[in-house]
Symmetry: C2
Subunit: 630 residues, 2 copies
């Protein structure tokens, strides 16, 4: 691991594998002007290598482009004056405490692998005239010796049974399924010979935007491969509402259902290809998704989810044969679904809560999944309360003039020099910037606020004469990227209307925490642990999110990033019937609160439409920084 | 009801609706020469009407053709000398005692109709914001109030659920299925409004030759319609062995399976058409068939049924959704199968035993289903033993020179005048004779024997000079129909080789009773009741069957004809889960004996290759008649 020392700040950071000096600087809070997001075309990210070996592009006037520079040894890097001007650029790096608590908790839980599908190798005695019982009886008799009871069989198994039994002289491996609602296990599959070592499952998080999938070894509990892709339903509607609309069209529901199933089938094939295994070894597919995603996947009518009184078709879904859903897998492979709580609190949250495990622990925990449909859970081992927050699409770039989804060319990190008001940006993939994604929007907002360019009500300073601050066609705006550096050639700006939209989104979330906590007689300060779930949470800068009032201003060591907890929960459920039972228990235990029905919600919401909040005492660390900065 | 008095015999018989005088005469044991089987072309069946009104064809020389004569009033009929010559023609009519015991037993059993599928009408409260639980929860909550427990649901139901619930404002009828292996019932179907009155099942006997089906009202227990047809698999093989052979061909199994399912689908459509109901009201299809038929219906590999050590794929078959088998019915309708005991003792026998009910009673009962694969059950409430008899196809006309299946043109009844040796025959459908079916063969054999044309070893009298008795190309034979009266123009004869085949068939059956009874430490004389099951049994003349040694010579009032007991059992199982449970209990309770494995079987068989048997003391009534006749 190489170290980079930045001069003149005397900040040292450990470089990550393959990371550029520019990225390391952003992480360390060292400001370097970088207008093209790391695409290597603006030539503003000049730095000088004072010590050490590097690979990268040098500039004709001397020095190197920081965005191209990869350390080969420990380095000492000098950031020239034109590339920085702010000593206060040194922001604290976000604390991502997942490694300690979450991983430990998961390790603890993962001890007993006891999947719903188990494989048993049987050496059955071949039949003769003195023992010519039917093939099925022979199989059941053999299994009874192991299970203590006779399992159930379905007729599809019977078709293959006589051939498979005789293929390796009545030596077979049987897959037994513990159906959640049945007294006795079901024989899903039999294979000739001993195949007990080939025993796989797939866990999938069906996100509105992204599908994430993992291939799991059910013997070892190991993840053999991971992959993800966009949810192909995006082509028919960006958010759940527009998909519900599309589903009302002729064949609309069928199309949405088929598209997502096909894509998930493709991901499963891909996982197996990566791991060098056959799809026919997959016995179980464990899915978690929000209520709309689960409905659409199963082809269930979604419209009543969004029509008053917001009724799902089902919250607990029966297991479905993979073949009936067109998914690859072993003969008899089964698909299970994380149960939902309500129309807007789905299986992804239930799976996430099980993955986080706080429903079995003492500390009062706030579990947050930020997104267009933000979900909040509060509770501990004694109770669980949940609510859905309609934050709007701002966190996914929606309703923001140059907002975009987190794809290549999206500005994902922003720093603004507090003296020059010049930005430093990083784009996904190091391409010329096309727009700003959610985490970039929050970083930009926090920087605009802390640099004083925007006041607490979300308005730009009218008194400042700066080329980047101007009155445009849509009102006042800050130019984040000049046209010459952007992908399209247009200036990328952030308008006061964008700020309004973002404040409404973060205000809805914060009012949600307050309302939900009040509903159970608690308040924000009492929260002992905050768990940030979801893809968005993973890219969130904790300080920035607190700065703008999206997250409560609690001691930083109470925050944990759990990543894709929905996927994690789906995996746990595949690995253990206890986890599957916990999902049911959590879904049953969770009390759902309809925030809009709470009389106090509107007041909380209005008060949250400030930076960070009307009541600055709710944000003591932000208050302190603002006062210190003055 | 009109009466017919036959002169000069002074025999009076009640004519049945639409029955000809010729048929009534055969039934009453009155011999009338009838060479064309009732086709109206031989003109030998002349009779004179002495009193009463008739419709029919008169003959130019006076009198009427008996085969065309239908009584309009009570009649006195004189049979002229040339049309009869034998006073001993007066045979006792067979006692068909089914009406008393079997019907009474069935009435007793049918008291509680408790089908595996039950329908419940529910008036659910429509959802509002204070009660917006998922649709499925609402349905289950409503059902729990009735059932005391929450039923299981499958995902196929979920697709329709939201629409059906809202169609009649949350008033729905749910169909609940008691799965034989599960703890909690399954919701098969829901329908809008109150449809509990439309609740149907179909019972089917899948015979190797014939399919018989009934439409049953599950509320009243009534049979709404009946129908039957040939098993279309006949085109691919007459008997089970040739079908198993055909199944080994490319796609052979698939073809056999599909053909029989399609035909049964057609029969179900036909039943519903007859009864004026929709197939969508059928919740349950109850099937009974022998092991090969059940395997072929389900598409299960049949070859190991006939290969040593004779192993079925399964004996207890799981219920299968009707839709998966291509059968019509309600959404979610389910198909159940009578369990089998062994490769050659199938669900038809198990269903038959349940229908007969003797496994719950004291008397030692012999249950016989005569056919190519004859099945024998012996037992009472304390034990059940069964065996399969490979009698060969003689009873279905196979291996007999002019043998044929019981279709139009088949000679089904025969009487031979003991003095003139002239035959009286009746054909099915009153058409010119084409050949002889099973019941005709037995009647012919009994008559040839009793008339002295054939001796106890099955040889024709060599010393008799009679035009009908001759040495033909295939050895000695009796001409039953002259070519001028037959459909083909050829003589229809019965050869000594035919007699040999028939003796082997009846010998196998009789040796079967003896061996099976001996296997459980009993003997034929101890049998307190004989139940004749199956289609063939229904057309059998008891006296004739005893005469040739096919049935044991026990007091006639111990014999009962139960008809298609397989169909009857399938119907009982559809009507009552208790009957379904009894089928399982009977199949478990039955001990199967492999006759060929019994050391005494061969001796018994060899001794039975006489008329009626080597040991005449086993047939006291036949012995008495033979001695009386001499
Ligand atoms: S050239 Fe390096 S950031 Fe633009
Ligand atoms: Mg999600
Ligand atoms: Mg039969």
């Amino acid at each position: 691991m190489t170290k980079i020392r930045f001069l003149p700040f005397e900040v040292t950071v450990e470089a990550r594998e393959g990371e550029t000096v520019l990225h390391a600087a952003m992480r360390a809070g060292v400001h370097i002007n970088a207008s093209c997001g790391g695409a290597g075309v603006c030539n503003k990210c000049r730095v000088f290598v004072e010590e050490g070996q590097v690979i990268g592009e040098s500039l004709p006037e001397g020095g190197y482009k920081a965005c191209t520079l990869i350390p080969e040894t420990d380095l000492v890097i000098r950031v020239p004056v034109e590339s920085h001007l702010d000593r206060r650029a040194l922001l604290r790096a976000p604390k991502r405490l997942a490694s300690s608590w979450i991983e430990a908790a998961e390790r603890a839980r993962a001890v007993d692998i006891e999947p719903a599908v188990r494989k048993f190798f049987l050496e059955l005695p071949p039949p003769d005239l003195s023992d010519n019982i039917p093939d099925l009886r022979r199989l059941k008799r053999g299994l009874k010796e192991i299970l203590g009871q006779e399992p159930e069989a379905e007729w599809s198994l019977l078709k293959r049974l006589p051939y498979v039994l005789r293929e390796k002289d009545f030596k077979v491996t049987a897959s037994l399924y513990d159906h959640p609602e049945r007294r006795i296990p079901v024989i899903l599959n039999i294979e000739a010979g001993d195949t007990a070592q080939n025993h796989l499952a797939v866990a999938v998080d069906i996100g509105t935007t992204t599908l994430c999938a993992e291939l799991i070894d059910l013997n070892s509990g190991q993840i053999l491969a991971e992959t993800s892709d966009y949810n192909p339903q995006i082509s028919y509607g960006e958010d759940v509402i527009s998909r519900i609309e599309f589903a009302r069209r002729e064949k609309g529901l069928e199309i949405l259902s088929q598209k997502v199933r096909e894509r998930i089938s493709g991901l499963i094939e891909e996982l197996c290809h990566k791991a060098g295994v056959e799809t026919s070894k997959i016995s179980l597919v464990s899915l978690a998704g929000n209520s709309v995603m689960t409905h659409l996947f199963l082809g269930l009518e979604p419209r009543f989810l969004r029509e008053d009184p917001y009724v799902p078709v089902a919250a607990f879904y029966p297991p479905v044969p993979a073949a009936e859903l067109g998914l690859p897998g072993a003969s008899g492979a089964v698909v299970e679904f994380a149960p939902c709580v309500a129309s807007y609190v789905g299986g992804d949250i239930v799976a996430g809560v099980v993955a986080a495990g706080f429903f079995e622990e003492d500390p009062l925990t706030l579990f947050i999944d930020i997104g267009t449909n933000g979900e909040i859970v509060v509770g501990n081992k004694d109770f669980l309360a949940c609510a859905a927050c309609s934050a709007g699409p701002a966190f996914e770039g929606g309703g923001i003039k140059y907002g975009m989804r987190a794809t290549v060319g999206a500005i994902e990190a922003v720093h603004i020099d507090y003296e020059t008001f010049e930005p430093m940006i990083l784009t996904i993939g190091g391409k010329k910037p096309k727009g700003i994604c959610g985490s970039g929007i929050i970083a930009l907002m926090a920087n605009l606020f802390l640099s004083g360019l925007v006041d607490r009500s979300g308005k730009y300073r009218r008194d400042l004469d700066h080329p980047r601050l101007r009155e445009g066609r849509d009102g006042w705006e800050y130019v984040l990227v000049w046209g010459e550096d952007s992908a399209s050639g247009e200036d990328i700006v952030f308008t006061e209307a964008d700020i309004d939209n973002l404040m409404r989104a973060k205000g809805a979330m914060f009012a949600g925490y307050q309302t939900l906590l009040e509903s159970v007689g608690l308040s924000v300060e009492m929260v002992e642990r905050v768990i940030l779930a979801g893809n968005f949470g993973s890219y969130l800068d904790l300080e920035q999110a607190i700065t703008i009032g999206l997250l409560p201003d609690l001691p930083r060591d109470r925050f944990y990033f759990i990543g894709n907890s929905s996927l994690r929960g789906a995996r746990l459920s595949a690995l253990s019937i206890k986890a599957r039972e916990k999902m049911v228990a959590v879904a049953r235990m969770m009390t759902h609160f309809e925030l809009s029905a709470h009389p106090g919600y509107m007041d909380y919401y209005m008060s949250a439409l400030f930076l960070p909040h009307t009541n600055l005492d709710l944000f003591p660390s932000v208050k302190e920084r603002l006062e210190g900065g003055k």
